[in-house]
C-alpha cells in the first residue's frame, strides 16, 4: 500500500505525524515514535515568552535577599554560565536529528518580531527540517483594530519566511472572521503549510475553590469536525500544504481527513491516552480499510471528499445545517 504523502515539500512515508506536545521532549520517545511508524515529528513549542520570563525570574531570585544582611550577603553560588533556552531546545533538535531518520519539525511561539526571527534562524541552524509557527493572539482589548491584529500575523510570517529557507508552517486557530481570506493572504506570502487547528488551554472554574483553572481537555474524535470542514473548503485553493490536527484518534479519522484534503494528520491526544503504539495501530487500520475498499494510495484519496470534489459542496457550508433540520422534519 502506498501511504506516502508530501507535506510542504517533505516526502513522508505516511501521513501520520505526532503533533507538538510534551511527547517530543524526550529523545527516547521520539525514537519510539519513529519505530511505531511516525513519518515526521513536530517538537513541543519553544516559547520566547517563557525564556524571557525565566531569565527575569532567575535574576530576581538570585538577587533576592542579597547584600541585606552582614552574615549572608548572598544565598546562592554564582554561576558563570546559564542556558536559558533556546540552547536546550536547539540541542534537542540536534539530538533528535542524530537519533532518528524522519524529518524533525520544530515549533516556535514568539512574542517579539526580533524573537521570531532570531529563534527561527537558530532553529534552522540547529538542523530542523521545517518550522511550525505556533501563532496566536487572544484579542481581549476592545480598542485593538482587528485588521491590525491580522496584519501582525502577516508581518510575523513574512519576517520568518525572510529569515529562513526551511519550509514554514503556520498553526492557526479557527477564530478568524474569514479564515478563507486569511488563508489566502498567508498563501500569497508563501506559507508552506497551514496546520488546522491549534488547540488551546481553556479556562475552567473550580467551584470548590472558586478559582479559574486553566487546563487542556484532550480532544475526542468529535472535535475533528471543525478542521475537517476547513480542510475540505481550503483544499485545492492554496499552494500551501494542509495539516489536520485536533480530534484525530482512529484510522477512520485519518482517512476522513485525507479525503477532505489533508496532506498529513497530526496526532496528539490519542498518543497521550493510548501510548506511542497507537501510531502502528492507526497505520494498520488505514491499510486494512484501504485494502478492503480497494484503494491503492493516499494520493488517490487525498481531497476526494473535499469541498470541490464532493457532489454536494454545500454540505460543507452553512446549508449543511439547514439540511439537517429539514431532514429532521
Amino acid at each position: 500500500m502506498d501511504l506516502t504523502t508530501t507535506y510542504m515539500g517533505l516526502k513522508l512515508k505516511n501521513p501520520l505525524v505526532p503533533s507538538a506536545s510534551p511527547l517530543g521532549r524526550d529523545i527516547s520517545t521520539v525514537k519510539r515514535m519513529e519505530e511505531a511508524g511516525a513519518s515526521a515529528v513536530v517538537l513541543e513549542s519553544l516559547f520566547e515568552e517563557q525564556i524571557i520570563h525565566e531569565k527575569f525570574e532567575m535574576d530576581h531570585f538570585l538577587a533576592q535577599g542579597t547584600e541585606s544582611f552582614a552574615e549572608a550577603t548572598s544565598y546562592f553560588p554564582e554561576s558563570d554560565m546559564y542556558n536559558f533556552g533556546p540552547d536546550e531546545y536547539l540541542a534537542h533538535i540536534q539530538q533528535c536529528q542524530k537519533a532518528v531518520g524522519i524529518p524533525i519539525i520544530a515549533s516556535l511561539n514568539g512574542v517579539s518580531t526580533g524573537g521570531w526571527i532570531d529563534y527561527a534562524r537558530k532553529i534552522q541552524e540547529a538542523g530542523a527540517d521545517a518550522l511550525e509557527l505556533n501563532l496566536y493572539y487572544l484579542a481581549t482589548d476592545p480598542a485593538k483594530d482587528p485588521r491590525k491584529i491580522e496584519d501582525n500575523y502577516i508581518e510575523v510570517l513574512k519576517a520568518v519566511k525572510n529569515a529562513v529557507t526551511i519550509p514554514v508552517a503556520l498553526k492557526l486557530s479557527p477564530f478568524f472572521t474569514s479564515l478563507s481570506h486569511m488563508a489566502t493572504r498567508f498563501d500569497e506570502i508563501g506559507v508552506d503549510a497551514l496546520v488546522l487547528f491549534n488547540r488551546f488551554y481553556q479556562p475552567d472554574i473550580d467551584l470548590e475553590n472558586l478559582e479559574v483553572v486553566p487546563n487542556l481537555v484532550l480532544s475526542t474524535s468529535e472535535s475533528m469536525r471543525v478542521p475537517l470542514r476547513w480542510i475540505a473548503i481550503l483544499y485545492g485553493k492554496l499552494k500551501a500544504s494542509l495539516a489536520a490536527t485536533t480530534g484525530i484518534h482512529t484510522a477512520e479519522d485519518v482517512l476522513k481527513m485525507i479525503m477532505a484534503g489533508a496532506d498529513i494528520t497530526q496526532l496528539c491526544a490519542t498518543l497521550l491516552q493510548n501510548g506511542i503504539g497507537r501510531i502502528t495501530e492507526i497505520q494498520e487500520g488505514m491499510i486494512k480499510w484501504m485494502e478492503d475498499n480497494e484503494y491503492e494510495s493516499v494520493k488517490q484519496m487525498k481531497g476526494s471528499m473535499s469541498h470541490k470534489s464532493v457532489a454536494e459542496p454545500a454540505a460543507f457550508e452553512r446549508a449543511n445545517y439547514m439540511r439537517v433540520l429539514k431532514s429532521y422534519q
Binding site: 533576592q64 541585606s68 549572608a72 550577603t73 546559564y82
Partner: protein, 1188 residues
C-alpha cells in the same frame, strides 16, 4: 611586570591566593570568613587551577573541628592544605592546631579575626579569637589592608613551607574581610617565584605513606615527652628570619617591602604607638597628619606576632623613643595586661636586662584596648592616645573609643578631629537591603577603581534585621593609597535612597558644608521639600547642601526594575558627583551592567540599560528655600510609655547612637530584658492586611501562619466595645463555647507587619461577590496607619481568654493564646517563626529555651530589640544562646537543673511537711500538671507555699523558697536550624536522644545554612544547588527522623504547617507532653530556597503532596498502650517531585547551569522520594501486622 588592578575585598584576596597555592581545602562556614571558602569553592567549580596546574579540591565539613581534622590528615599525607575560619571556628580548631604545629607541618589558616562570644555573640572583628591560639605553636601573621591580605597570604605560605612552622594569617573581620579596595593582583608567576617546589617535595617526603612506613602521634611518658617537645626550638628560632627572608624576596618581585615590624613616622619620635592589623592603617594616617602639623610621632606595625622576635622588634624602635602605647584589639580579663602589651613589656625588659636597650632610658609603656567587635577606631582616638602619652602621668590599661564610666579606663577624645584630605571624595549611601544599594556601590567602586587612576575603598554597614534592613555604604575615592580604616565621618556626598530614613536616622549628620545630597523621593519635585522633616530642612540650609531629587521607584517601575533602584541611584551618583565625565560614566555603567548581567541574559541587560537612560531625564536639582518651614516633625524613637531601659538604652541603639552609650548602661553579665520589639515600630511594609469581619469564619489560620505575630484574635464580652475607636471591627464570636454576648476581633499591628501576605494566601474564605477578595486582604499601609494604630492599642487592652478555657489542641483554639514571640527581625514571610511562635503560645509561660546560633538566634536575640515576650502576669519564655555546636547539651543542662532542683524541692517539702501542712505538701508533690488547669492550680499552691515558707526561719524553708517555682512544670525547648541539628551539633543531639532526658527539640529545617548565606548542610536535598553544592547536591539528605526513631524512646514528628496546621499543633503538643526526648523536624520554607516567600505555604503543601516531606508522628507512649507508635499523617504522593522542586530557584537554576546533570539528579531525587515513601508507608503496614 604588568599586573592587573582589581577592586576586591579581603576575603576574596585571601581566597584568591590560597586557592592558587593549595591542593586540599576543607572549610566550614562562619561569619565573616564564609566568603573565603565560597570563593575557593567557586574557583574550583569554574575550573580554575592552582599554580601547578591542578584544580584544588574544596570540601565542606560538619564543623570547624572537622575541617581542622581533615586539614591535619591532608597535611600528614603530603597535600598543601588550608582552611578559612574565624572566632568560635578557630577555637574549635585548637586541638588540631597543637598537633599540626607539634608535628612541624607547614600550612596557613586564613582567619578573618572576629570576637569570641562572651557575654554576647558578635559577628564583628577583634583579636580575641587569634589571641586564643597563641599557645598552639602556630605563627601569627597580621595583615592590615586588602593589598596586604593578598601579599601576606603568599608570604606566609612561602615562610611556612620553608620554616615548617604553620601560620594563622589574620586580618580584621569585616573591616578587612569585607572592605573593598583597589589593589594590585598577584600573578601566577609571582606565586611561582615565591614558592620553591623543593619545599613542597620536602613536605611530601615527610608524608605518611605505606611505601615508607613511619609512626607519628605516639603516646609518650614522663621520661621523654619533655625532651621531645623541645626538639622544635631551632625551627621557632629560625622562623622570624625566614619570614623576613620571604618578605625580602617578595619585595624583589613586587616592589612592596614588608618587615616583621614596620616603623612609620618621625625618625626621632619620642611617642609611638604599637599595634597590628587594620587599626594600624588609621594610626599610620594619623601619624602622617600629625607629623605634617609639626609633631614628631611614630608607630610600629606588628606583622609577625608569633614567633615574636625580640631582636627584630627592638631594632625597629627609634632610639629617641620615650613613651610607648601598645594597643590591643582584645580583652583578657584578669591578665596583667593584654597580650601584645605584655610582649612589648617583656621584649623591653629582657633587652634591658641584657644591657642591649638602644634608648637612653627605659621607656614608659602603657597598654590599652580599642576596637572590640569592630568598634570604630578613628584618628581622633589615635590622637587621644598620643595626647595621653605626652602627659606626665599616662593612664595605663586604658580603653579608647568608649565611655567607661564604671572603672574609668577610657580616654577622652575629640570626635571632631579629622585627618580626611580635601582631595578625597567621601560618599555615604543610605539604602535598604532590598533596593540593591550595596551592590550598586560595589559596582561604582569597581568602575572608579578600574577606569580611573583613583584609589577606591568601600565599606558596608548592615543592620541586624533580615526584613526591611538598612544598609549604609561608606565610599572613598582619592589620588593616594587609602589608609582610612574607619567609617566616613565627613561626607561630601550623601545619597538617601529611602525617603522614610529622613524620619528615622540622622542621615545628614556626616555631611560637610557644601556637600551634595541625593534624595530618592516618592513625591513630585515641587512637593518634596515640604515632605522633608523640619530638622532635616534646617540641616540642609545650614550646611549649604546642593540637593538633587529623583523618584527612583517610578523610574524603576517604568523600566521593569521592580523594587531594585540600584542602577538608577548609581547613575544619579555618577551624573552629579563629577568623578567621571557624565557620558563616560554612563558608558562605564553600561559596561558594568553587561559584565554583571550578561550571563543572565540580554533582556536583563536591556532592562538595566533602560533604567540608566530613564534616570537622567528624571533627575532634578532642588533649589533650596531660605527657610525650614516643614510641618513634618521627627517622631520619638520609642513611645513615651516604654520602660526606662528601652527609652534610655534601647532607643539609643535603634537610633544608631549605640556608640554613645556608656559602660554603666549595660548589665555586667549579658542579661537583657525581654519583650522589647514591641517598642520598635519599624513601619517597613507599604501594605498591611485588612480584615473583612463580614465573611471571616474565625478559623485563625492567618494568625497561625503570621511569621511576625502581627495578626491577633480575641474573643471578649461585647460590653468592652463601649470605648472602642470608631473603626474598630468585631463580629459575633463563632463557636459553641462562646455565648451570645461574646464577640470576636481580628486585629493587625499596622506598624509591625512586614507585608509578606502569607495570611492572605492561607485564608480559606472568598468573597462571594468578588472572588479575588478574601476575609483578609492587603491594602496600602500609610492611609491606615493612624487608625489601625489606635485600634491595635485598644485591642491590646482587651483581656486575653483564660487559657484554661481554650481548646489548645486545635488550630483555632491554640491561636487564641497570646504569642510570646512577636515582631522579630526575621525575613518577611519567614517559614521558621510560625513554629517558634506556636511553641510560645502553647507553653511560653513555662518555657526555657536553648537556641543554637543561626537565624533563630539572630532574629531571637540580636540587639537592639528582641522578640521573646511576656504575658499579662509577667511570665514568658526565658532564652539563651550558648554556641552553635553545643545547643542540645546546653538545653539538656537546663533540664538536669530543673529535674535536680525539682527533686530537691520535693525532698525539702517532705522534710517540711509539718510546717507546710500535709494536704498542701501532698497536693504539691502529686499535682497533675498535664493541662493548663493543673498548672494554674499548682501555681496557686506554690504561692501558698511561699507565704508559709516566708514566715519560717528554718534553713530548709529558705532553701525551698528559692526553689519553690521549680515545683511548677517547666518546658525545656532546644531550638535551632539544620546546620546545628544535622551537622555541627549532631553528636550532642544524638547523645541527648540516648540520654532519655525530657527535652523538646525543634529543628527549623531550611535544608541549608540560611544565616550564613546558603551553604549546603546534610539536610540539603539531592539536586538542590547550594554553596558548596555548585552543581547540585549529589547525595540525598540525611533522614534525621529515621535516625531518631531508631532509638525507640524518642518522640519524633515531621511537620509542615503549610500542609497541615492541625498536624503541626498536634505534634508540638504531643512532643511537649512526652516524658523523654522529643524531636520535631519542621519544614521551613526560606529565602535561601529562591522562592517568592508569599507562596511559601504552597511549597510546603507541594513538598508533602509529592511525598518528599511525609508528615508523621512516632510516639513511644503508644507502645505501652499496645498501639503502633508510628502514625503517617500524609497521603501517598500525588504529584511528581519535580512539580514541587522546580518552583524553587535552588533546584531550577541547575537546569539552566547544568541541564544534563539536573536531569540525572531530579530522577535520583524522585527515587529518593519513592524510597522514603516506601519506607514510611511500610512502617504503617509493619506496625499494623505486629498489632495483628
Amino acid at each position: 611586570m604588568n599586573r592587573r588592578m582589581n577592586t576586591i575585598d579581603g576575603n576574596e584576596a585571601a581566597a584568591y591566593v590560597a586557592h592558587k597555592i593549595n591542593e586540599v581545602i576543607a572549610i566550614y562556614p562562619i561569619t565573616p570568613s564564609s566568603n573565603m571558602g565560597e570563593w575557593a569553592d567557586q574557583f574550583s567549580a569554574e575550573g580554575r587551577k592552582n599554580i601547578w596546574g591542578t584544580i584544588p579540591s574544596v570540601t565542606e565539613m560538619q564543623s570547624e573541628g572537622g575541617a581542622a581534622g581533615a586539614i591535619h590528615g591532608a597535611l600528614q599525607t603530603g597535600a598543601l592544605s588550608t582552611t578559612f575560619t574565624a572566632s568560635q571556628g578557630l577555637l574549635l580548631m585548637i586541638p588540631n592546631m597543637f598537633k599540626i604545629a607539634g608535628e612541624l607541618t607547614p600550612t596557613v589558616f586564613h582567619v578573618s579575626a572576629r570576637s569570641v562570644a562572651t557575654h554576647a555573640l558578635s559577628i564583628f572583628g577583634d583579636h580575641s579569637d587569634v589571641m586564643a591560639v597563641r599557645s598552639t605553636g602556630f605563627g601569627l601573621y597580621a595583615s592590615n589592608s586588602i593589598q596586604e591580605v593578598m601579599d601576606n597570604a603568599l608570604i606566609a605560605q612561602a615562610a611556612s613551607l620553608k620554616s615548617r612552622i604553620p601560620f594563622v594569617h589574620f586580618f580584621d573581620g569585616f573591616r578587612s574581610s569585607h572592605e573593598v579596595q583597589k589593589i594590585e593582583e598577584l600573578t601566577d608567576e609571582d606565586m611561582r617565584a615565591m614558592i620553591d617546589d623543593d619545599m613542597i617535595f620536602e613536605h611530601r617526603k615527610r608524608a605518611l605513606s605505606p611505601d615508607k612506613p613511619v609512626l607519628r602521634g605516639t603516646a609518650q611518658n614522663p621520661d621523654v615527652f619533655f625532651q621531645a617537645r623541645e626538639t622544635v626550638n631551632p625551627f621557632y628560632d629560625a622562623c622570624p628570619g625566614i619570614v623576613q627572608e620571604m618578605m625580602d624576596k617578595f619585595a624583589k618581585i613586587t616592589g612592596r617591602h614588608y618587615h616583621l615590624f614596620d616603623y612609620i613616622g618621625a625618625p626621632d619620635a619620642e611617642n609611638i604607638i604599637i599595634l597590628m592589623s587594620s587599626g594600624a592603617e588609621t594610626v599610620h594616617e594619623t601619624v602622617d597628619y600629625l607629623n605634617e602639623q609639626g609633631e614628631k610621632v611614630g608607630m610600629v606595625k606588628v606583622r609577625l606576632y608569633r614567633p615574636f622576635s625580640i631582636e627584630h622588634f627592638i631594632k625597629t624602635l627609634p632610639e629617641s623613643v620615650k613613651s610607648i602605647a601598645v594597643l590591643d584589639r582584645t580583652k583578657e580579663p584578669g591578665s596583667a595586661g593584654e597580650p601584645l602589651y605584655m610582649d612589648v613589656i617583656n621584649a623591653l625588659a629582657e633587652t634591658q636586662a641584657a644591657g642591649d636597650l638602644p634608648m637612653k632610658s627605659y621607656p614608659k609603656v602603657i597598654g590599652g584596648r580599642y576596637g572590640l567587635s569592630s568598634k570604630e577606631f578613628t584618628p581622633a582616638m589615635v590622637k587621644a592616645v598620643y595626647d595621653e602619652l605626652s602627659k606626665d602621668k599616662s593612664k595605663n590599661h586604658f580603653t579608647v573609643g568608649i565611655n567607661d564610666d564604671v572603672t574609668n579606663t577610657s580616654l577622652e577624645y575629640d570626635p571632631s578631629f579629622s585627618t580626611e584630605k580635601s582631595d578625597v571624595v567621601r560618599a555615604m549611601f543610605y539604602g535598604l537591603g532590598a533596593d540593591g544599594t550595596v551592590g550598586a556601590n560595589k559596582n561604582s567602586i569597581k568602575i572608579i577603581g578600574t577606569e580611573t587612576d583613583n584609589f577606591a575603598q568601600g565599606y558596608f554597614v548592615y543592620d541586624s534585621k533580615k526584613s526591611g534592613s538598612m544598609t549604609i555604604s561608606h565610599l572613598r575615592f582619592g589620588p593616594r593609597d587609602i589608609h582610612s580604616t574607619y567609617l566616613v565621618s565627613e561626607a561630601n556626598f550623601i545619597g538617601c535612597h529611602q525617603f522614610v530614613f529622613l524620619e528615622k536616622y540622622d542621615v545628614l549628620a556626616a555631611a560637610v558644608e557644601g556637600a551634595t545630597f541625593l534624595l530618592n523621593s516618592p513625591y513630585p519635585l515641587e512637593e518634596t521639600w515640604d515632605k522633608i522633616p523640619k530638622k532635616v530642612q534646617q540641616q540642609i540650609i545650614d550646611k549649604k547642601l546642593k540637593m538633587y531629587v529623583i523618584d527612583a521607584y517610578t523610574v524603576a517601575k517604568e523600566t521593569g526594575m521592580g523594587a531594585r533602584i540600584n542602577t538608577i541611584m548609581q547613575t544619579c551618583f555618577f551624573a552629579i558627583s563629577g568623578i567621571l565625565p557624565r557620558d563616560e560614566a554612563i558608558a562605564k555603567i553600561k559596561g558594568t551592567i553587561e559584565k554583571t548581567y550578561g550571563v543572565k541574559g540580554e533582556e536583563i541587560v536591556k532592562k538595566n540599560y533602560e533604567a540608566v537612560d530613564g534616570t537622567l531625564a528624571n533627575l532634578h536639582e532642588l533649589k533650596i528655600p531660605a527657610t525650614a518651614d516643614s510641618k513634618v516633625k521627627l517622631p520619638p524613637t520609642v513611645p513615651e510609655e516604654a520602660p526606662d531601659f528601652v527609652k534610655n538604652v534601647t532607643a539609643m541603639i535603634i537610633a544608631g547612637k549605640g556608640d554613645d552609650l556608656p559602660v554603666s548602661a549595660f548589665a555586667n553579665d549579658g542579661t537583657f530584658p525581654t519583650a522589647t520589639t514591641q517598642w520598635e515600630k519599624r513601619n517597613i511594609s507599604l501594605e498591611i492586611p485588612v480584615w473583612d469581619e463580614n465573611i471571616c469564619i474565625q478559623c485563625n489560620k492567618c494568625v497561625l501562619v503570621c511569621p511576625h505575630a502581627v495578626i491577633r484574635p480575641k474573643v471578649y464580652d461585647k460590653k468592652l466595645l463601649e470605648n472602642a475607636p470608631k473603626t474598630f471591627k468585631h463580629s459575633k464570636a463563632r463557636g459553641k463555647e462562646y455565648d451570645e454576648n461574646m464577640v470576636y476581633t481580628l486585629q493587625v499591628a499596622p506598624e509591625d507587619c512586614t507585608g509578606c501576605a502569607l495570611c492572605v494566601e492561607v485564608c480559606p474564605v472568598k468573597n462571594k461577590q468578588e472572588t479575588r477578595l478574601k476575609a483578609i486582604n492587603m491594602a496600602s499601609q500609610p492611609p491606615l496607619r493612624d487608625t489601625e494604630k489606635e485600634n491595635w492599642n485598644f485591642f491590646l487592652n482587651i483581656p486575653d481568654l483564660d487559657r484554661r478555657g481554650v481548646s489548645v489542641h486545635t488550630v483555632k483554639g491554640s491561636q487564641m493564646l497570646r504569642p510570646l514571640f512577636e515582631f522579630s527581625g526575621a525575613c518577611a514571610g519567614c517559614g521558621e517563626t510560625p513554629y517558634v511562635k506556636l511553641v510560645s503560645q502553647l507553653f511560653g509561660d513555662r518555657t526555657i529555651i536553648a537556641n543554637a546560633t543561626g537565624c533563630s538566634s539572630i532574629y531571637g536575640g540580636n540587639l537592639p530589640t528582641t522578640p521573646w515576650a511576656k504575658d499579662e502576669n509577667g511570665r514568658g519564655p526565658t532564652w539563651s544562646n550558648s554556641l552553635f555546636e553545643d545547643n542540645a547539651e546546653f538545653g539538656m543542662g537546663f533540664r538536669l537543673t530543673i529535674d535536680k532542683h525539682g527533686e530537691y524541692a520535693r525532698e525539702l517539702l517532705g522534710k517540711l511537711k509539718t510546717d507546710v501542712g500535709k494536704d498542701l505538701t501532698e497536693a504539691l508533690i502529686n499535682a497533675d500538671q498535664s493541662d493548663e488547669a493543673g498548672i494554674y492550680d499548682q501555681r496557686d499552691r506554690v504561692e501558698e507555699l511561699k507565704k508559709i515558707l516566708d514566715k519560717s526561719d528554718k534553713a530548709e524553708a529558705k532553701q525551698l523558697l528559692s526553689l519553690a517555682d521549680l515545683l511548677v512544670k517547666k518546658s525545656v525547648w532546644i531550638m535551632g536550624g539544620d546546620g546545628w541539628a544535622y551537622d555541627i551539633g549532631y553528636g550532642g543531639l544524638d547523645h541527648v536522644f540516648a540520654s532519655g532526658t525530657n527535652v523538646n527539640i525543634l529543628v527549623l529545617d531550611t535544608e541549608v545554612y540560611s544565616n550564613t548565606g546558603g551553604q549546603m548542610s546534610k539536610a540539603t536535598p539531592r539536586g538542590a544547588v547550594a554553596k558548596f553544592a555548585y552543581s547540585g547536591k549529589p547525595l540525598k539528605r540525611k533522614d534525621l527522623g529515621r535516625l531518631a526513631m531508631s532509638y525507640g524512646n524518642v518522640y519524633v514528628a515531621q511537620i509542615a504547617f503549610g500542609s497541615s496546621d492541625a498536624q503541626t499543633v498536634r505534634a508540638i503538643i504531643e512532643a511537649e507532653a512526652y516524658d523523654g526526648p522529643s524531636i520535631i523536624i519542621a519544614y521551613s520554607h526560606c529565602i535561601a530556597h529562591g522562592i517568592n516567600m508569599q507562596y511559601g505555604l504552597d511549597q510546603q503543601k507541594l513538598a508533602v503532596d509529592s511525598g518528599y516531606w511525609p508528615l508523621y508522628r512516632y510516639n513511644p507512649d503508644l507502645i505501652a498502650e499496645g498501639k503502633s507508635p508510628f502514625t503517617l499523617d500524609s497521603k501517598a504522593p500525588k504529584i511528581p517531585f519535580r512539580n514541587y522542586a522546580y518552583n524553587e530557584t535552588r533546584y531550577k537554576m541547575l537546569t539552566k547551569s547544568h541541564p544534563e546533570h539536573a536531569k540525572k539528579l531530579i530522577e535520583l531525587a524522585q527515587e529518593d522520594v519513592n524510597e522514603k515513601w516506601d519506607y514510611y508507608s511500610g512502617l504503617v503496614k509493619t506496625d499494623k501486622s505486629t498489632e495483628n
